[in-house]
Amino acid sequence: MNHTASTPRPAAAPALGHTLLKLIPYAAILAVALVLPFIANDYWVLIATRAAIYWVLVSALNLVVGFAGQLAIGWVALLTLGAYTTSVLTAGTVLPPMPLLVAFAAAAVVGALAGLLVGLPALRLRTFYFAMTTLGFATITTQIALAWQDVTGGGIGIPGPWLPSPFDNALGFYLLCLGLAAVLTWMTANVARSRFGRGLVAIRDAEVAAEVSGISKPALLVAVFLFSGAAAGVAGGLFATLQSYISPEAFTFDLSVLFFIAILIGGRGSILGPLIATIVLTWLPEFAAPLVVWSTFLYALLLLVIVLAVPGGIAAMLDFGSRRPLARDRAVVPREELLGALFTERPASSAIVLKDVVLSFGAVRAIDGLDLTIDPGEVHGLIGPNGSGKTTTLNVICGFYKPDTGTVRVGDDVLKPGEPQHRAEVGIARTFQTPRLIGESTVLENVMVGGDTSGRATFAEALLNLPRNHADEVMLRERADLALRIVGLEALAGVRADRLQHSELRFMEIARALMLQPRFLLLDEPAAGLSGDEIARLGSLIESVSRHGVGVLLVEHHADLIFKICHHVTVLDLGRVLADGTPDEVRTHEDVVSAYLGG
C-alpha cells in the first residue's frame, strides 16, 4: 500500500490537464499554419499546401509503417493511382466527366482497393519480401501509367482536376488541404488511442502476445491497408490539383522515400513525430536549395543515423517523461482481494481436456500420446525436465502447434488447431516463458491489449471516435487499472514497458492475461527470475485466481511452489506422462523421485 501512496496519480483516465498538454504541439502547428497565409507569400503557402497533402498520406501510412511495422516503401504508387483517378474522371476522357466529389470518392475507393492489394502479401510474407513487393508495385504502377496512353496520356500526362470556388485559389485550396490534414490527424489519433492502435503495435512488437489476446492480424491489417490506401488516393487527387498537371515523372521514388523516412525519423508509434518530420522534410530542400542535389543522400544519411543512434526518432527525443528516473526500491505487492471485482461472475465449469495428443518435430516426438485435464477452479502443475514437452503442451492448447493426432476440447467444443487468435474467445489466457512485452507502449497499454476481445466498436467507429469506441476505451481502461492493482503494478501504469524489471514484466503479463477475465490461465514459468518474496506473493495470487473458478495450468521448475499451491500435478518426461495425481502422490512416486526430483 505504501508504494501506491508514494505515486498519487491514478492509472485510469489520465487527468484532463495531461491530455491538454499533449494537444499543445498540435494546436501550435495548426495555429502557425492558419496564420501563415497572412504573413507569408504564395510561395510559402504552396510549400505548406504540399506539406499538408503529404501529411494526408503520411498520417494514414503511419498506421501501416509506424504502428503495424509493415515496411511499405513503395507507397507513392497509391498517390499515383489517386492522382490519375481524379484527373481522368474529371477530365472525362474515358467516361463522361464526373463531379469533383465523385472523382475524389472514386480515388479513395481505388486507393483503398490498391492498398489492400499491395498490403495483402504482408499477411504471408516476411518484412524484406514485403518491402520488395511494394517497391515492385511502385515500379509497375509508373510503367502502366506510361504505357496506357489512351487513359493516362502516357508520358505527356494529363491535367489535374480543377476545383470550384472557393477552392480555386491558393488560399482556398490551402485551407481545404489543411482541413483534411487536420481531420486525418484526428482520425489516426483516434485509432492510435483505441484498441486497434494498441493491437497494431502489439502485432509489430509482440505478435504472439497479440494472437493469444485474440487480436486478428489479418482483419486489423486489412482495415489499415484500406484506410491508408483511401487516404493516399485522396492525397493523390489533391497532389494532382496542386501540380495542375501530372505525368509519371512527378511520382519519383524519392517521394516514396520521403513518405517512408518521415515516419521513421518521426518515430514509430508516434503521430506528432512523423508530423514534424513531414513538415521538415517537405521544407528542407527549399530552405537548402543549393543542397537539392544531395537531398536524397541526406535523407538516407538521416535515416541511417536515426536507425543506429535514435531508433525512437523525434518522438523519443521529445519523450521527456521516459527519462525521469523510476523509484529504485520498488516492490510488486499484489492485492488479491480485488479479484472479486474482476471476476464478477463465476466462469462456466467445464474443463480443458487433451486427449491422446501426439506432436513430432521431424523425427523427435515432442509430445507422445498425452492425456491431460485442466479442471476449473484448480491449479494444475505441469513439471518435467527440459525438453519434456511442457511448453509444447501449452502451445498445443493455445493453437500455435497443430498436433499430429489427438484433440483439445473445452467442454464439448473441440478447439481448432493452429488458430491461436481464437483461444481468447473461449477464455484461455496465457503468459510466456520470455515475457512478450510491447516495449515502446506503457504498462497500461500493454495490459489493455489483453482485453481486446471485449471491445465492441468497429474500426470505422474508432476512426471517428463514436460513442461505442469511447465506451470500449473507458471499460478497458477501468479493467486494466483494476488488473494492474491486482498484480500490484498500478504505480508503473504510465511507464514504458521496456523500463520495467524482469520480475515486474512477469506480473504485467499476468495482468494482461487477467484482462480477458479468463476461464483458464496458462502460466509458463512465471516464477523464473523472481526473488523468494516475489515467488511467495505470486503463489498466493495464483491460488486466489483459482478460487474464483479459473483453471490454472502452471508450468514451473520451482518444485516448492508447485507442491505448495497445486491441487493436481502432472509430470512429463519425453512427451509422456510420467506421473499424475495430487502433489503428495506425485512427490512420493518412485519414477519421479528417481528421474526428476533426484531424491
Binding site: 516476411r126 520488395m132 517497391l135 509497375i140 510503367q143 512488437d205 521513421l264 543522400f297 538516407a300 510466456f432
Partner: protein
Amino acid sequence: MLPAILASGLAMGSIYAMMGVVYNVMFSASRVMSFTTGQLGMLGGVLGAAFVGILGLPAIVGLVLTLACCALVGIVTEVVAVRPVLDKLDQHLYVLSTLALALMIQQFVAIEWSTEPQPFPQLIGFGGGGPTDEKFWLPVLACAVTVVGLELLFRHTLVGRAFLAISEDNYAARALGLPERRLRMASYALAGMIGGLAGFASGQLLLAFFANGPYLNFYGFVPVALGGLGNNRGAIISGLLLGLVQQAAHFTFGGVFTSVAVFAVFIVALLAAPQGLFGQPKQRRV
C-alpha cells in the same frame, strides 16, 4: 534468333543468379538481407569502367582493384548497417539501415560519377555483338567461377566449413568457439566480391550506370525468393531460369509488359510458396 535469346538469357540469368548468391552469402552469415546487394553489382560496373576504361589499367588489374573495393563496401555494410542492429533482428531495423546505405551509395555515384550510362571497355577483344560476343559469355563464366569457387571453399577448406557451421546455427557455432564476428565480416567481403565480379563481368551488357542498383536488387531477389532463402543451388537455377524466361518474353511481347509479367509471376509464386519453390523448414515462433 534462338541463339540470341539463349545468349542474352543465360547472360542475364547468370547475373541474377550471382546477385541471388550475394543475398544468400550475407544472409547465411547474419540472418540479414541487404539492400546494398544491387549496389555492389552497380559498383562492379562503375569501378570497372573507371579503372579499365578511364584510367586505362590492364583488365586483370582493374578486376582485382574492383573486387577489392567491392569487398571493402561489403565490409562497410557489415560494420555500419548490419552489426549495430544485429541484436535487434526481430525489429527488422536492418531493412532500414541497409536501405539507407544503399541509397547513399547510389546517390553518391549519381553525383560523383554520372547520371548517364557510361561505356564499359571490351576486356578480351572477343566482340562482334553476336551470340558469341564476350559480353554474353563473361557473365556466364563469372557465374561458373562463383559456383565452383564456393563449392571448393565450402567443401574443402576449414574456413568454408566454419561458414557453413555459422549459417546452420549462429549460437552453436559461437559456442564451438568459432570467431563468429570475423567470419561474418569475411562473408560480407566475399559477398562484396561476388557482387563486384557480377557487375564487372556484366559491365558491357549493363553499362556503368548508377541506377543499375535497384534493378539488380529486384531481379537478384527474385531467384532468392523462388529458390528459397539461403539456398544457393536454388538461387542459381532460378536465376538462370528467370534470365531465359525474361529474355524470351522480351522477344515475344517486348516493352513494359514483360516486367509487369515478371512481377506478377513473382508475387503469385511467393504467395503460393512463401518458403520458395525449393522449400525451407518453417521456423519456430514461440
